[in-house]
Symmetry: C2
Subunit: 222 residues, 2 copies
DNA sequence: TGTACATCAGTGAACGCGCGTTCACTGATGTAC
DNA sequence: TGTACATCAGTGAACGCGCGTTCACTGATGTAC
Protein backbone atom coordinates (compact mmCIF):
# COMPACT_ATOMS: atom_id res chain seq x y z
CA UNK A 1 0.00 0.00 0.00
CA UNK A 2 1.28 3.39 -0.88
CA UNK A 3 -0.62 4.81 2.06
CA UNK A 4 -0.96 3.68 5.64
CA UNK A 5 -3.70 1.09 5.88
CA UNK A 6 -6.15 3.42 7.51
CA UNK A 7 -5.14 6.49 5.59
CA UNK A 8 -8.37 6.70 3.66
CA UNK A 9 -10.49 6.14 6.75
CA UNK A 10 -8.61 8.93 8.48
CA UNK A 11 -9.20 11.28 5.58
CA UNK A 12 -12.85 10.31 5.53
CA UNK A 13 -13.14 10.99 9.25
CA UNK A 14 -11.38 14.34 8.85
CA UNK A 15 -13.78 15.41 6.11
CA UNK A 16 -16.74 14.43 8.28
CA UNK A 17 -15.39 16.18 11.33
CA UNK A 18 -14.61 19.44 9.54
CA UNK A 19 -17.90 19.29 7.66
CA UNK A 20 -19.86 18.80 10.85
CA UNK A 21 -18.48 22.08 12.19
CA UNK A 22 -19.09 24.09 9.02
CA UNK A 23 -22.54 22.66 8.48
CA UNK A 24 -23.57 23.51 12.03
CA UNK A 25 -22.22 27.03 11.51
CA UNK A 26 -23.70 27.70 8.11
CA UNK A 27 -26.62 25.32 7.84
CA UNK A 28 -27.24 22.20 5.82
CA UNK A 29 -27.30 24.24 2.59
CA UNK A 30 -24.80 26.86 3.63
CA UNK A 31 -21.62 25.38 2.17
CA UNK A 32 -20.86 23.43 -0.97
CA UNK A 33 -18.88 20.29 -1.71
CA UNK A 34 -15.80 22.27 -2.78
CA UNK A 35 -15.83 24.31 0.42
CA UNK A 36 -16.30 21.27 2.60
CA UNK A 37 -13.37 19.47 0.96
CA UNK A 38 -11.21 22.56 1.24
CA UNK A 39 -11.88 22.58 4.98
CA UNK A 40 -10.29 19.15 5.08
CA UNK A 41 -7.35 20.33 2.97
CA UNK A 42 -8.48 18.50 -0.17
CA UNK A 43 -9.88 19.31 -3.59
CA UNK A 44 -13.46 18.67 -4.52
CA UNK A 45 -12.74 15.96 -7.09
CA UNK A 46 -12.04 13.31 -4.51
CA UNK A 47 -15.33 13.78 -2.76
CA UNK A 48 -17.19 10.93 -4.42
CA UNK A 49 -14.54 8.42 -3.46
CA UNK A 50 -15.74 9.01 0.10
CA UNK A 51 -19.46 9.71 -0.14
CA UNK A 52 -22.31 8.73 -2.42
CA UNK A 53 -23.62 12.28 -2.50
CA UNK A 54 -23.43 15.59 -0.72
CA UNK A 55 -26.57 14.61 1.18
CA UNK A 56 -24.86 11.48 2.49
CA UNK A 57 -22.08 13.59 3.97
CA UNK A 58 -24.57 15.93 5.61
CA UNK A 59 -26.30 13.02 7.31
CA UNK A 60 -23.01 11.46 8.38
CA UNK A 61 -21.73 14.79 9.69
CA UNK A 62 -24.94 15.27 11.64
CA UNK A 63 -24.56 11.84 13.22
CA UNK A 64 -20.92 12.48 13.99
CA UNK A 65 -21.76 15.77 15.68
CA UNK A 66 -24.42 14.09 17.79
CA UNK A 67 -22.06 11.28 18.79
CA UNK A 68 -19.38 13.76 19.76
CA UNK A 69 -21.82 15.82 21.80
CA UNK A 70 -22.82 12.72 23.69
CA UNK A 71 -19.18 11.83 24.34
CA UNK A 72 -18.40 15.34 25.51
CA UNK A 73 -21.32 15.32 27.90
CA UNK A 74 -20.47 11.93 29.30
CA UNK A 75 -16.93 13.07 29.96
CA UNK A 76 -18.13 16.30 31.47
CA UNK A 77 -20.61 14.84 33.93
CA UNK A 78 -18.59 11.77 34.84
CA UNK A 79 -16.72 13.40 37.73
CA UNK A 80 -19.89 15.03 39.08
CA UNK A 81 -22.16 13.56 41.72
CA UNK A 82 -25.19 12.05 39.96
CA UNK A 83 -27.54 14.59 41.49
CA UNK A 84 -25.73 17.45 39.75
CA UNK A 85 -25.40 15.94 36.31
CA UNK A 86 -28.72 16.89 34.80
CA UNK A 87 -28.31 20.46 35.91
CA UNK A 88 -24.78 20.61 34.51
CA UNK A 89 -25.94 19.55 31.07
CA UNK A 90 -28.86 21.95 31.03
CA UNK A 91 -26.81 24.92 32.18
CA UNK A 92 -24.12 24.30 29.62
CA UNK A 93 -26.64 23.75 26.85
CA UNK A 94 -28.50 26.94 27.67
CA UNK A 95 -25.43 29.07 28.28
CA UNK A 96 -24.28 31.91 26.03
CA UNK A 97 -21.17 29.99 24.95
CA UNK A 98 -23.31 27.32 23.33
CA UNK A 99 -25.66 29.84 21.76
CA UNK A 100 -22.75 31.80 20.31
CA UNK A 101 -20.76 28.89 18.88
CA UNK A 102 -23.13 26.76 16.87
CA UNK A 103 -20.24 25.16 14.98
CA UNK A 104 -19.10 23.25 18.03
CA UNK A 105 -22.48 22.86 19.70
CA UNK A 106 -25.37 20.46 19.54
CA UNK A 107 -26.42 19.61 15.99
CA UNK A 108 -30.13 19.76 16.77
CA UNK A 109 -30.72 23.50 17.00
CA UNK A 110 -28.34 24.00 14.09
CA UNK A 111 -29.62 21.40 11.65
CA UNK A 112 -32.78 19.59 12.77
CA UNK A 113 -35.26 21.99 11.16
CA UNK A 114 -33.56 21.68 7.78
CA UNK A 115 -33.06 17.94 7.98
CA UNK A 116 -36.72 17.54 8.95
CA UNK A 117 -37.46 18.13 5.25
CA UNK A 118 -35.32 15.26 4.01
CA UNK A 119 -36.39 11.71 3.18
CA UNK A 120 -37.92 9.33 5.68
CA UNK A 121 -34.67 7.37 5.57
CA UNK A 122 -32.71 10.43 6.65
CA UNK A 123 -35.25 11.26 9.33
CA UNK A 124 -34.98 7.78 10.72
CA UNK A 125 -31.25 8.34 11.15
CA UNK A 126 -32.05 11.59 12.94
CA UNK A 127 -34.56 9.86 15.16
CA UNK A 128 -31.95 7.31 16.24
CA UNK A 129 -29.53 10.07 17.25
CA UNK A 130 -32.24 11.99 19.06
CA UNK A 131 -33.12 8.80 20.90
CA UNK A 132 -29.47 8.42 21.96
CA UNK A 133 -29.44 11.92 23.33
CA UNK A 134 -32.75 11.43 25.11
CA UNK A 135 -31.35 8.24 26.62
CA UNK A 136 -28.30 10.00 28.01
CA UNK A 137 -30.43 12.80 29.38
CA UNK A 138 -32.97 10.43 30.90
CA UNK A 139 -30.21 8.66 32.84
CA UNK A 140 -29.33 11.96 34.48
CA UNK A 141 -32.84 13.03 35.43
CA UNK A 142 -32.89 13.21 39.20
CA UNK A 143 -35.53 11.29 41.11
CA UNK A 144 -37.03 9.52 38.13
CA UNK A 145 -36.39 6.55 35.93
CA UNK A 146 -37.96 4.56 33.15
CA UNK A 147 -40.85 6.18 31.32
CA UNK A 148 -41.03 9.13 33.67
CA UNK A 149 -37.37 9.95 33.20
CA UNK A 150 -37.68 9.54 29.45
CA UNK A 151 -40.63 11.88 29.38
CA UNK A 152 -38.78 14.49 31.36
CA UNK A 153 -35.76 14.07 29.11
CA UNK A 154 -37.91 14.54 25.99
CA UNK A 155 -39.44 17.72 27.37
CA UNK A 156 -36.08 19.02 28.53
CA UNK A 157 -34.51 18.41 25.15
CA UNK A 158 -37.41 20.12 23.39
CA UNK A 159 -37.09 23.15 25.63
CA UNK A 160 -33.33 23.31 25.24
CA UNK A 161 -33.41 22.97 21.46
CA UNK A 162 -36.19 25.50 21.09
CA UNK A 163 -34.54 27.98 23.42
CA UNK A 164 -31.23 27.82 21.58
CA UNK A 165 -32.95 28.18 18.19
CA UNK A 166 -34.93 31.19 19.38
CA UNK A 167 -32.00 32.73 21.26
CA UNK A 168 -29.87 32.53 18.11
CA UNK A 169 -32.65 33.84 15.90
CA UNK A 170 -33.42 36.79 18.13
CA UNK A 171 -29.87 37.91 17.67
CA UNK A 172 -27.83 39.93 20.07
CA UNK A 173 -29.94 41.57 22.70
CA UNK A 174 -31.86 41.17 25.88
CA UNK A 175 -34.57 38.92 24.45
CA UNK A 176 -31.97 36.35 23.52
CA UNK A 177 -30.63 36.20 27.07
CA UNK A 178 -34.13 36.12 28.51
CA UNK A 179 -35.01 33.11 26.38
CA UNK A 180 -32.01 31.16 27.63
CA UNK A 181 -32.75 32.07 31.23
CA UNK A 182 -36.43 31.17 30.95
CA UNK A 183 -35.59 27.84 29.35
CA UNK A 184 -33.01 27.09 32.01
CA UNK A 185 -35.36 27.78 34.86
CA UNK A 186 -38.24 25.92 33.26
CA UNK A 187 -36.19 22.78 32.69
CA UNK A 188 -34.60 22.88 36.11
CA UNK A 189 -38.00 23.50 37.64
CA UNK A 190 -36.66 26.43 39.45
CA UNK A 191 -38.73 29.55 38.94
CA UNK A 192 -36.65 32.69 39.06
CA UNK A 193 -36.72 33.73 42.70
CA UNK A 194 -38.60 36.98 42.82
CA UNK A 195 -39.32 36.88 39.10
CA UNK A 196 -38.14 39.26 36.42
CA UNK A 197 -40.27 42.03 37.84
CA UNK A 198 -39.02 41.22 41.30
CA UNK A 199 -42.54 40.93 42.57
CA UNK A 200 -44.20 37.85 43.94
CA UNK A 201 -43.57 34.26 42.99
CA UNK A 202 -42.35 34.10 39.43
CA UNK A 203 -43.81 30.76 38.54
CA UNK A 204 -47.54 30.73 38.34
CA UNK A 205 -49.00 27.33 38.02
CA UNK A 206 -51.33 28.88 40.52
CA UNK A 207 -50.46 31.02 43.49
CA UNK A 208 -50.25 28.07 45.79
CA UNK A 209 -48.36 26.01 43.28
CA UNK A 210 -45.89 28.84 43.07
CA UNK A 211 -45.09 28.44 46.72
CA UNK A 212 -44.71 24.70 46.40
CA UNK A 213 -42.45 25.13 43.43
CA UNK A 214 -40.25 27.53 45.29
CA UNK A 215 -39.93 25.12 48.14
CA UNK A 216 -39.16 22.34 45.71
CA UNK A 217 -36.50 24.41 44.06
CA UNK A 218 -35.01 25.45 47.34
CA UNK A 219 -34.76 21.89 48.59
CA UNK A 220 -33.16 20.68 45.39
CA UNK A 221 -30.75 23.57 45.36
CA UNK A 222 -28.97 22.40 48.48
CA UNK B 1 -54.67 54.25 -13.93
CA UNK B 2 -54.80 51.16 -16.04
CA UNK B 3 -55.08 49.08 -12.87
CA UNK B 4 -57.13 49.50 -9.75
CA UNK B 5 -55.33 51.80 -7.35
CA UNK B 6 -54.33 49.03 -5.00
CA UNK B 7 -53.72 46.44 -7.68
CA UNK B 8 -49.99 46.35 -7.11
CA UNK B 9 -50.36 46.16 -3.36
CA UNK B 10 -52.71 43.26 -3.75
CA UNK B 11 -50.28 41.46 -6.02
CA UNK B 12 -47.50 42.16 -3.54
CA UNK B 13 -49.58 40.78 -0.70
CA UNK B 14 -50.46 37.70 -2.75
CA UNK B 15 -46.81 36.98 -3.47
CA UNK B 16 -45.96 37.33 0.21
CA UNK B 17 -48.83 35.14 1.31
CA UNK B 18 -48.07 32.33 -1.14
CA UNK B 19 -44.35 32.61 -0.44
CA UNK B 20 -44.89 32.36 3.29
CA UNK B 21 -46.57 28.98 2.82
CA UNK B 22 -43.97 27.57 0.43
CA UNK B 23 -41.05 28.83 2.49
CA UNK B 24 -42.44 27.25 5.64
CA UNK B 25 -42.92 24.01 3.74
CA UNK B 26 -39.58 23.89 1.99
CA UNK B 27 -37.33 26.07 4.09
CA UNK B 28 -35.77 29.46 3.53
CA UNK B 29 -33.55 28.05 0.76
CA UNK B 30 -35.96 25.46 -0.53
CA UNK B 31 -37.59 27.40 -3.36
CA UNK B 32 -36.31 29.96 -5.84
CA UNK B 33 -37.58 33.31 -7.06
CA UNK B 34 -39.15 31.79 -10.18
CA UNK B 35 -41.01 29.18 -8.14
CA UNK B 36 -42.24 31.73 -5.63
CA UNK B 37 -43.58 34.00 -8.37
CA UNK B 38 -45.21 31.06 -10.12
CA UNK B 39 -47.07 30.31 -6.89
CA UNK B 40 -48.60 33.76 -7.17
CA UNK B 41 -49.44 33.22 -10.85
CA UNK B 42 -46.69 35.50 -12.15
CA UNK B 43 -43.38 35.24 -13.97
CA UNK B 44 -40.07 35.81 -12.28
CA UNK B 45 -39.18 38.98 -14.17
CA UNK B 46 -41.53 41.15 -12.17
CA UNK B 47 -40.07 40.13 -8.87
CA UNK B 48 -37.79 43.11 -8.39
CA UNK B 49 -40.61 45.56 -8.88
CA UNK B 50 -41.91 44.22 -5.56
CA UNK B 51 -38.84 43.33 -3.51
CA UNK B 52 -35.26 44.53 -3.24
CA UNK B 53 -33.98 41.00 -3.14
CA UNK B 54 -35.03 37.43 -2.54
CA UNK B 55 -33.86 37.80 1.05
CA UNK B 56 -36.22 40.75 1.54
CA UNK B 57 -39.17 38.60 0.50
CA UNK B 58 -38.13 35.82 2.87
CA UNK B 59 -38.05 38.24 5.78
CA UNK B 60 -41.38 39.80 4.80
CA UNK B 61 -42.96 36.38 4.36
CA UNK B 62 -41.70 35.32 7.77
CA UNK B 63 -43.20 38.41 9.36
CA UNK B 64 -46.47 37.90 7.52
CA UNK B 65 -46.68 34.30 8.70
CA UNK B 66 -46.06 35.36 12.27
CA UNK B 67 -48.71 38.09 12.08
CA UNK B 68 -51.22 35.66 10.65
CA UNK B 69 -50.47 33.10 13.35
CA UNK B 70 -51.12 35.73 15.97
CA UNK B 71 -54.38 36.72 14.34
CA UNK B 72 -55.49 33.09 14.08
CA UNK B 73 -54.74 32.47 17.72
CA UNK B 74 -56.50 35.58 18.88
CA UNK B 75 -59.59 34.59 16.93
CA UNK B 76 -59.40 31.06 18.22
CA UNK B 77 -59.12 31.88 21.91
CA UNK B 78 -61.45 34.85 21.91
CA UNK B 79 -64.62 32.84 22.62
CA UNK B 80 -62.92 30.77 25.31
CA UNK B 81 -62.91 31.56 29.00
CA UNK B 82 -59.56 33.18 29.85
CA UNK B 83 -58.55 30.26 32.03
CA UNK B 84 -58.66 27.88 29.05
CA UNK B 85 -56.85 30.03 26.53
CA UNK B 86 -53.26 29.15 27.28
CA UNK B 87 -54.04 25.48 27.20
CA UNK B 88 -55.87 25.82 23.91
CA UNK B 89 -52.88 27.43 22.23
CA UNK B 90 -50.42 24.89 23.60
CA UNK B 91 -52.53 21.90 22.62
CA UNK B 92 -53.04 23.18 19.11
CA UNK B 93 -49.39 24.06 18.71
CA UNK B 94 -48.27 20.65 19.89
CA UNK B 95 -50.88 18.67 18.02
CA UNK B 96 -50.16 16.38 15.07
CA UNK B 97 -52.02 18.67 12.67
CA UNK B 98 -49.52 21.45 13.29
CA UNK B 99 -46.54 19.11 13.11
CA UNK B 100 -47.74 17.65 9.81
CA UNK B 101 -48.57 20.90 8.03
CA UNK B 102 -45.62 23.20 8.40
CA UNK B 103 -46.78 25.33 5.47
CA UNK B 104 -49.70 26.70 7.41
CA UNK B 105 -48.17 26.55 10.85
CA UNK B 106 -45.98 28.74 13.01
CA UNK B 107 -42.99 30.15 11.15
CA UNK B 108 -40.61 29.62 14.05
CA UNK B 109 -40.05 25.86 13.91
CA UNK B 110 -40.03 26.07 10.12
CA UNK B 111 -37.67 28.99 9.58
CA UNK B 112 -36.05 30.35 12.74
CA UNK B 113 -32.96 28.13 12.63
CA UNK B 114 -32.16 29.18 9.08
CA UNK B 115 -32.92 32.84 9.63
CA UNK B 116 -30.73 32.82 12.73
CA UNK B 117 -27.79 32.88 10.31
CA UNK B 118 -28.86 36.08 8.57
CA UNK B 119 -27.74 39.63 9.28
CA UNK B 120 -28.29 41.40 12.57
CA UNK B 121 -30.86 43.56 10.80
CA UNK B 122 -32.86 40.50 9.82
CA UNK B 123 -32.53 39.00 13.27
CA UNK B 124 -33.85 42.19 14.80
CA UNK B 125 -36.96 41.79 12.67
CA UNK B 126 -37.27 38.21 13.90
CA UNK B 127 -36.84 39.33 17.49
CA UNK B 128 -39.71 41.79 17.13
CA UNK B 129 -42.03 39.07 15.84
CA UNK B 130 -40.95 36.66 18.56
CA UNK B 131 -41.64 39.38 21.09
CA UNK B 132 -45.16 39.81 19.67
CA UNK B 133 -45.82 36.12 20.03
CA UNK B 134 -44.42 36.05 23.55
CA UNK B 135 -46.65 38.98 24.39
CA UNK B 136 -49.77 37.21 23.20
CA UNK B 137 -48.80 34.06 25.05
CA UNK B 138 -47.96 35.94 28.23
CA UNK B 139 -51.43 37.49 28.28
CA UNK B 140 -52.93 34.01 28.36
CA UNK B 141 -50.75 32.55 31.10
CA UNK B 142 -53.09 31.71 33.95
CA UNK B 143 -52.40 33.10 37.37
CA UNK B 144 -49.47 35.25 36.43
CA UNK B 145 -48.74 38.62 34.90
CA UNK B 146 -45.88 40.97 34.13
CA UNK B 147 -42.40 39.54 34.24
CA UNK B 148 -43.54 36.22 35.63
CA UNK B 149 -46.02 35.69 32.83
CA UNK B 150 -43.47 36.77 30.26
CA UNK B 151 -40.97 34.30 31.63
CA UNK B 152 -43.48 31.48 31.47
CA UNK B 153 -44.40 32.50 27.95
CA UNK B 154 -40.76 32.48 26.87
CA UNK B 155 -40.22 29.02 28.28
CA UNK B 156 -43.48 27.74 26.81
CA UNK B 157 -42.59 29.07 23.37
CA UNK B 158 -39.12 27.53 23.55
CA UNK B 159 -40.58 24.16 24.48
CA UNK B 160 -43.24 24.33 21.78
CA UNK B 161 -40.81 25.36 19.04
CA UNK B 162 -38.25 22.76 20.07
CA UNK B 163 -40.84 20.01 20.31
CA UNK B 164 -42.25 20.74 16.86
CA UNK B 165 -38.76 20.90 15.32
CA UNK B 166 -37.78 17.60 16.91
CA UNK B 167 -41.12 15.94 16.19
CA UNK B 168 -40.81 16.87 12.52
CA UNK B 169 -37.16 15.82 12.35
CA UNK B 170 -37.78 12.45 13.97
CA UNK B 171 -40.17 11.69 11.16
CA UNK B 172 -43.13 9.40 11.31
CA UNK B 173 -43.03 7.16 14.32
CA UNK B 174 -43.59 6.83 18.01
CA UNK B 175 -40.74 9.10 19.05
CA UNK B 176 -42.34 11.98 17.19
CA UNK B 177 -45.61 11.55 19.06
CA UNK B 178 -43.82 11.13 22.37
CA UNK B 179 -42.00 14.40 21.89
CA UNK B 180 -45.25 16.28 21.30
CA UNK B 181 -46.88 14.68 24.32
CA UNK B 182 -43.90 15.36 26.59
CA UNK B 183 -43.76 18.98 25.47
CA UNK B 184 -47.48 19.40 25.99
CA UNK B 185 -47.41 18.05 29.51
CA UNK B 186 -44.31 19.98 30.46
CA UNK B 187 -45.73 23.30 29.29
CA UNK B 188 -49.07 22.70 30.91
CA UNK B 189 -47.28 22.00 34.16
CA UNK B 190 -48.25 18.42 34.32
CA UNK B 191 -45.00 16.56 34.67
CA UNK B 192 -45.27 12.83 34.98
CA UNK B 193 -47.61 12.63 37.94
CA UNK B 194 -45.92 11.07 40.92
CA UNK B 195 -42.65 12.37 39.61
CA UNK B 196 -40.44 9.37 40.18
CA UNK B 197 -42.53 6.55 38.81
CA UNK B 198 -44.62 7.81 35.93
CA UNK B 199 -47.79 6.45 37.42
CA UNK B 200 -51.14 8.06 37.90
CA UNK B 201 -53.46 10.05 35.64
CA UNK B 202 -51.76 11.27 32.53
CA UNK B 203 -53.91 14.34 32.18
CA UNK B 204 -55.39 16.75 34.60
CA UNK B 205 -58.33 18.94 33.68
CA UNK B 206 -57.68 22.62 33.25
CA UNK B 207 -58.84 23.82 36.62
CA UNK B 208 -56.99 21.17 38.56
CA UNK B 209 -53.72 21.83 36.81
CA UNK B 210 -52.67 23.95 39.73
CA UNK B 211 -53.15 21.11 42.13
CA UNK B 212 -51.34 18.69 39.88
CA UNK B 213 -48.46 21.12 39.75
CA UNK B 214 -48.34 21.33 43.50
CA UNK B 215 -48.25 17.58 43.85
CA UNK B 216 -45.66 17.22 41.16
CA UNK B 217 -43.46 19.92 42.57
CA UNK B 218 -43.79 18.52 46.07
CA UNK B 219 -42.92 14.99 45.06
CA UNK B 220 -39.97 16.14 42.99
CA UNK B 221 -38.73 18.05 46.01
CA UNK B 222 -38.18 14.90 48.00
C1' DT C 1 -65.37 63.60 -29.84
C1' DG C 2 -61.01 61.27 -31.58
C1' DT C 3 -56.10 60.75 -31.61
C1' DA C 4 -51.43 60.76 -29.71
C1' DC C 5 -48.90 60.09 -25.91
C1' DA C 6 -47.70 58.67 -20.98
C1' DT C 7 -47.82 55.36 -17.48
C1' DC C 8 -46.40 51.16 -15.39
C1' DA C 9 -47.40 46.14 -13.79
C1' DG C 10 -45.95 42.35 -15.69
C1' DT C 11 -43.17 39.49 -19.43
C1' DG C 12 -39.47 36.63 -20.93
C1' DA C 13 -34.79 36.39 -22.78
C1' DA C 14 -30.37 36.85 -21.19
C1' DC C 15 -26.39 37.49 -17.86
C1' DG C 16 -22.74 35.55 -14.87
C1' DC C 17 -22.10 32.44 -11.31
C1' DG C 18 -21.65 28.61 -8.30
C1' DC C 19 -23.46 24.32 -7.62
C1' DG C 20 -23.21 18.84 -7.54
C1' DT C 21 -21.27 15.50 -10.13
C1' DT C 22 -18.11 12.99 -13.52
C1' DC C 23 -13.89 11.45 -15.28
C1' DA C 24 -9.28 11.00 -17.32
C1' DC C 25 -5.24 11.64 -15.19
C1' DT C 26 -1.16 11.94 -11.63
C1' DG C 27 2.23 10.35 -8.75
C1' DA C 28 3.72 8.00 -4.71
C1' DT C 29 4.64 3.58 -3.37
C1' DG C 30 3.82 -1.50 -2.96
C1' DT C 31 4.55 -6.08 -5.44
C1' DA C 32 6.34 -9.47 -8.95
C1' DC C 33 10.05 -11.38 -10.95
C1' DT D 1 19.39 -6.44 -6.29
C1' DG D 2 16.99 -3.63 -9.99
C1' DT D 3 13.21 -2.88 -13.10
C1' DA D 4 8.43 -3.05 -14.75
C1' DC D 5 4.00 -3.03 -13.45
C1' DA D 6 -0.23 -2.54 -10.35
C1' DT D 7 -2.68 0.04 -7.06
C1' DC D 8 -5.48 3.83 -5.69
C1' DA D 9 -6.12 8.38 -2.93
C1' DG D 10 -6.30 12.54 -4.55
C1' DT D 11 -6.27 16.23 -8.59
C1' DG D 12 -8.35 19.55 -11.55
C1' DA D 13 -10.80 20.45 -15.87
C1' DA D 14 -15.20 20.00 -17.55
C1' DC D 15 -20.34 19.05 -17.71
C1' DG D 16 -25.18 20.62 -17.41
C1' DC D 17 -28.16 23.01 -14.55
C1' DG D 18 -30.68 26.20 -11.83
C1' DC D 19 -30.01 30.17 -9.34
C1' DG D 20 -30.62 35.53 -8.39
C1' DT D 21 -30.70 39.43 -10.92
C1' DT D 22 -31.13 42.74 -14.99
C1' DC D 23 -33.36 44.86 -18.69
C1' DA D 24 -35.63 46.02 -23.06
C1' DC D 25 -40.06 45.31 -24.15
C1' DT D 26 -45.44 44.65 -24.13
C1' DG D 27 -49.98 45.94 -23.82
C1' DA D 28 -53.83 47.68 -21.34
C1' DT D 29 -55.58 51.88 -20.08
C1' DG D 30 -55.41 56.72 -18.30
C1' DT D 31 -54.61 61.75 -19.73
C1' DA D 32 -53.88 65.86 -22.82
C1' DC D 33 -55.45 68.42 -26.34
Amino acid sequence: MRYAKDHKQETHARIVRKASVKLRERGAHGIGVAGLMKEAGLTHGGFYAHFDSREALVVEAFGDAMDRSLAVWRRKIEPLPPADRFRAIVETYLGPAHRDDSGHGCALPALAAELARESVKTRRALAAKIEDMVGLLAEQVPDASGGAARKQALAALATMVGAVVLARASGPGELSDDILAAGRDAVLDKPAPGGTRAKGPAKAAGKTAGKAAIKAAASRAT
